[in-house]
């Protein structure tokens, strides 16, 4: 645009007017917003790296945590699902850049079509993430937490994970959840796990082939205790943990779930915002706003944001699931 636009042209001013470095002010603002947002995400991921290096010997192994795939119940499919999510996001990035490309040629219906595909892709990604969160929160095997705060998981003799319901013994007696209306108004507790600590301990004693697996990693694998050590260790149990919350999770270190919720949540929030911006621009394209302006630079600007969201996911994918 640059030199061809005169300052009285109000359409050009809507794009921020011609600025320095051969870009409009609008585009530069988007770029420098992205720079600062990229630093925010770097801060999160670097903080994740800090905690991981700090607890390098007992951090959860990601490919044991994310093993679900839709319609494949009970099949361990590590990474496939996140790989699929990555492809969805990359593909929606492609349709976005095709929309920008069509915008350069002022082809309105083509821009609208590709914007529409981009929005659909973003929607599918958000849905996938919701499903991923659901599985993460619900958990699969369950675990117990000791007085010292470490998580103990259960395996059989071959090292295969054993779920709590496979061995826990149901004891008579009921334990009621403490809610505000039953005790003091300021005392309450979150929902109770399926089994009490006593039920897990009794069940564990009754099943001689169940062993305890600790959080500790030696030679890239979690350490499994012998039966004698396991029996000793189970005595220190304080909580039964099923799934994940911000307080504790069955996968291992507490910070793992916190970072998971925070980083993928913040990224998901960006995706949601991106979809919202795309919808607004999509309607503007259909209404012919940019056709009248003879410039589709708004598509380019939301495009930059959308690619940025994809870029962040590429890093989250690497540092949360692969490394």
């Amino acid at each position: 645009m640059g030199a061809t636009v005169n300052s009285n042209d109000e359409h050009a001013l809507l794009d921020g007017g011609p600025g320095p470095l051969g870009a409009t002010y609008g585009k530069m603002m988007m770029w420098f917003f992205i720079v600062s947002d990229a630093l925010t995400f770097s801060g999160f991921l670097a903080a994740y790296g800090f905690s991981r290096f700090k607890y390098i010997e007992n951090w959860p192994l990601a490919d044991e945590v994310f093993t679900h795939f839709p319609f494949l119940h009970g099949v361990s499919a590590p990474m496939y699902y996140v790989a699929l999510m990555t492809f969805i996001l990359i593909f929606s990035s492609v349709t976005m850049v095709l929309a920008v490309d069509a915008g350069h040629q002022l082809k309105k219906s083509k821009v609208a079509f590709y914007m529409f595909l981009t929005i659909i892709g973003g929607g599918i990604f958000l849905g996938s993430q919701a499903w991923e969160w659901k599985n993460f929160i619900k958990g699969e095997y369950g675990a117990v937490e000791t007085v010292g705060g470490s998580i103990l998981q259960f395996v059989d003799k071959d090292g295969k994970r054993v779920a709590l319901h496979e061995f826990a013994k149901v004891l008579p007696g009921e334990r009621e959840q403490l809610t505000r209306d039953k005790g003091f108004w300021f005392t309450e507790e979150s929902s109770l796990p399926t089994y009490t600590v006593a039920e897990v301990i009794e069940g564990f004693k009754a099943h001689p082939d169940v062993l305890i697996r600790t959080e500790q990693i030696v030679k890239k694998e979690k350490v499994t205790l012998t039966r004698e050590e396991s029996l000793k260790r189970i005595e220190g149990t304080k909580y039964v943990v099923e799934g994940a919350s911000l307080i504790r999770n069955e996968y291992g270190h507490k910070l793992f779930a916190d970072f998971f919720f925070f980083i993928t949540g913040f990224h998901g929030f960006h995706v949601f915002t991106g979809v919202l911006l795309n919808v607004i621009v999509f309607f503007n394209v259909i209404l012919g706003t940019y056709e009248k302006r003879r410039s589709y630079e708004m598509v380019e600007k939301v495009g930059l944001y959308w690619h940025f969201v994809d870029l962040v996911w590429v890093f989250v994918f690497t540092f949360f699931y692969l490394v």
Binding site: L39, K54, I56, D63, M79, V94
Partner: protein, 116 residues
């Protein structure tokens, strides 16, 4: 830039191909975990992790250069975006990761037994 703009669709699909191939390679390596790469370290990180990180940076390069079209911007704008990011991110990682490793060493060899 309303004046004639030739279509870039060929390059877009080419870049999409590259990104897909890299992602597939990453996932395959993540599932197979070749012994030689997984167990050998370079600068206290396994070779496999180094490969993942390098491939990720390659992907980031293609997204930023081709999709965000930084390759078409002026040199000044390119540098004012990339230089601060590269410098600050490397700096941040250096400080935090070294510190994290230091705390780990304190736990392991010092007398502190519990969280702070």
């Amino acid at each position: 830039m309303a004046h004639t703009h030739e279509s870039n669709t060929k390059r877009i699909w080419y870049v999409f191909g590259i990104l897909s191939v890299i992602t597939t390679v990453e996932v395959a390596l993540g599932i197979i975990k070749p012994e030689a790469l997984f167990m050998n370290n370079f600068l206290s990180m396994s070779l496999l992790n180094w490969i993942f990180i390098i491939l990720t940076v390659v992907k980031a390069y293609y997204i930023v250069w081709a999709f965000m079209h930084l390759e078409g911007e002026t040199k000044g704008l390119r540098w004012s975006i990339v230089a601060p990011l590269v410098f600050l991110i490397l700096y941040l990682c250096f400080i935090l990761l070294v510190e994290g490793d230091y705390v780990y060493e304190v736990y392991k060899t010092g007398q502190i037994k519990w969280n702070f």
